[in-house]
Symmetry: none
């Protein structure tokens, strides 16, 4: 029997104990955003550190201005003695608040196994998936290697933080201040989703974000539309006209230079995505929509993951109460954001957007801008060797080729791994769309947990070679 097979066997034999160890972590109410749970966050960090020590990691609970970071370190080498790449594993031990508590069928910090009508077994608890369950798939894979071979297949540093659910705000300086320590060969992250129950996925891109506040001021006061209507500039009309012009009839953003740095997908990746057959019915049906509003010449899956977008996230101006008020307001404002991909330059997108608005503004109206976000997109090269190794072995585990997909949202620290540490991240996760992450009755499929552990064992083994 090969080393890997022995490790996988060990994982299967040990699965009940793996679940017990996850349950022990799930029982700690480590809600990071609420100061009332400060001690529980500390307890969770200590628990994770002790668990890492139990499998031979040197582990510390390292302080920050907020909740601590658990840093674990272990040497490792492959069967033939090659040390292999040194990887940084990132996960988080903090969880979302549980409200509304009354919607939970059982208490959120009393984990249990439930069998669904379709036979699926699920682990139910706050954090079952996000991210205690996912982080533990990696730790349990390490444990199996230790048990079978007495060592890890490659050197591993773990960084399990406690503030991901409130913006990772102290982790940025922690990483910067300890750049030498964490600037390793590759980051592994387990906080993303599978394509579906049967299809594993590696998340190869995260969209960036530019978030702008725009306020247009015309007259220096609110006006009676009966008196000034037809002559006075109306800032709502200007906002509507200007922001409404941001898209053409084909759903493309019209801001000059907006698509600079946006590359087309390689043909094979595009074909893979096409084969996933993400239909508007499947994706938009659950939210009450049928038709995509995106670029007409793009697949839906491209529109939501690998294509940039512009959105108006909020707008307000004039009278918005009950009934009628015949006012022309002095000012109106909107929040506008852009999701970026590829090499789009956030600074340039912001400047071009501002120029787009300014150019359309009549001479005696003013515009003020505020910025609440300026992050570039993240893209893992499609020929990254680690990516291709991971896709291959995930395919072996799940019986179906792993897809390389983009995620519409962002994991803030991953951008810093690239920009501050110059290190790529391999994002592999086992969440499913129905996991109710951030909602009551959060769950993680037992199969996802079990095969997730096996998947990491395969990935570590492959990376070590």
């Amino acid at each position: 029997m090969s080393t890997l097979d022995a490790v996988l066997n060990r994982i299967d034999q040990d699965i009940d104990q793996s679940v017990e160890r996850l349950f022990a972590l799930l029982r700690i109410a480590s809600v990071s955003t609420d100061p009332a749970f400060k001690q529980q966050c500390r307890d969770a960090a200590e628990h994770v550190a002790a668990d890492l020590r139990s499998i031979g990691f040197e582990a510390d609970v390292r302080p920050t201005e907020g909740h601590p970071v658990v840093v674990g370190k272990s040497n490792g080498s492959s069967a033939n003695g090659v040390p292999g790449p040194h990887v940084l594993f990132y996960g988080h031990y903090d969880v979302q608040p549980v409200d509304p508590l009354n919607l939970w069928k059982t208490p959120p910090f009393e984990p249990r196994i439930e069998t669904l009508p379709d036979g699926r077994k699920i682990i139910v608890a706050r954090g079952a998936c996000d991210d205690k369950g996912q982080a533990m798939t990696f730790i349990e894979a390490c444990r199996a290697f230790k048990a079978v071979t007495g060592k890890l297949p490659l050197p591993i540093t773990t960084m399990i933080e406690g503030e991901e659910e409130c913006g990772s705000k102290n982790l940025f300086s922690f990483v910067r201040d300890n750049a030498d320590e964490f600037k390793l060969d590759l980051a592994l992250v387990c906080d993303t989703a599978m394509w579906d129950q049967k299809t594993p996925a590696v998340t190869t891109s995260l969209r960036g974000l530019v978030y702008e506040d725009v306020k247009i001021t015309c007259a220096d006061r609110d006006l009676h539309s009966g008196v000034f209507g037809g002559a006075a500039q109306n800032p709502i009309r200007l906002l509507a006209k200007i922001l409404g012009a941001m898209w053409d009839d084909d759903g493309r953003v019209t801001i000059p230079g907006f698509y600079d740095g946006v590359k087309d997908l390689p043909a094979d990746i595009k074909a893979d995505l096409k084969a996933l057959d993400l239909t508007p019915e499947k994706f938009l049906g659950p939210i009450g929509l049928k038709t995509s509003a995106g670029e007409k010449d793009r697949m839906l899956i491209e529109q939501v993951t690998t294509r940039p977008t512009a959105e108006i996230n909020g707008i307000i101006g004039g009278y918005t109460g009950e009934g009628a008020k015949t006012v022309i307001p002095g000012e109106a404002s909107a929040k506008v954001s852009f999701r970026l991909v590829g090499d789009q330059d956030p600074q340039k997108i912001r400047d071009n957007f501002r120029a787009f608005v300014r150019e359309r503004l009549p001479a005696d109206c003013k515009v003020e801008f505020g910025n609440f976000g300026l992050a570039a997109a993240l893209q893992l090269s499609f020929d990254n060797p680690a990516l291709n190794k991971a896709r291959t072995v995930l395919g072996e585990e799940w019986g179906k080729k792993a897809v390389a997909v983009g995620a519409g949202g962002s994991i803030p620290i991953v951008a810093d791994f690239k920009n501050v540490l110059g290190m790529d991240s391999l994002l592999v996760g086992f969440a499913l769309d129905d996991d109710r992450v951030h909602s009551p009755n959060e769950k993680f499929d037992l199969t996802c947990f079990h095969k997730g552990i096996r998947s990491w064992a395969r990935i570590l083994h492959a990376l070590a070679e």
Copy 2:
């Protein structure tokens, strides 16, 4: 001394008490559009009724589905015993909302006199001009007649309503249901403006109004823009795109059929208007603007009085708080109004607007409309004898001939006086362009109030002869 001179003297002697009585009415926060002020509207109605009784009117607070109408009745006859025409005086005791409250220098319902740098004394309060101050010019003129002659110079019925600022919606049926009572010889209305500080005006045309609320619903919940951005319809984007398309680059409204029934002015009237030389500097300068936003091929005075307009009076959707939220809202809404002139059909304009929106709406988005106003425009014949009497005596009071002008705003019920009761309306008002009507720090010049009272005394005297 003639009767008229005695009445004018009495007005001069009593002016401080007249101001006190106006202040008492201004202290009542009778905001009609907000249900929270229901009792204050009732209080204002009772206050006006009591005041009318104090000068010999038989006065009732008459219920409607909304705020009540104050109806007062008094006989009257000229010095030589001729009863003269029976006039209906219309005004309103309700006022606009006060928001944004933080822009008021002093509380809106604590009236005060302020002296401007140029020496003008002004009455500052919500409703100081619109319409409590204006309505009180008429009541105070009646009071002076009563005090000096013991009677009014002609029979007067007063109708002081409480829903003008929210479209007079219950007054229409009230007038219709009591047509016999209110179908009199002539309506007198005090809710309009002077041409300027020195030039009195009779308003011979009023723009009509269509006021619509439009709500667009897309997804059945608020969405994360990172997940759904690029695919989900965004109702703010739709609102911006659709409403922004209501005007072409020359300021013309693009809704099909919008200009049906709009006639060009006769050449002589157009020449009179041109002679008034209303420049953008003069009209828009005081509100901080320099350039007109209206139809490029029209004089400014046409744009604001005799041409129809479209305005967005309010808009709201998505996140409007501090900072950023990456949301795509499920719904967004706006308030849109149209000022009508000539023979534009309000029903048709409303239908065409709704069709304009519906035609541009993607298949799986919904739109709901609400209507808060539907009034045709109004035009008084230039050879009306009451008009000419009024222009003459206004010239005597102000030392300058009264001009006959069109008003940009609408007084919805005046259309019904014509269409339902077959009665012309003589619109004489003393507001000035800088009165900040509907805005913070609304004011009414003390001179306008004082000479306004004297003007009505002269008009009543002239109509009685």
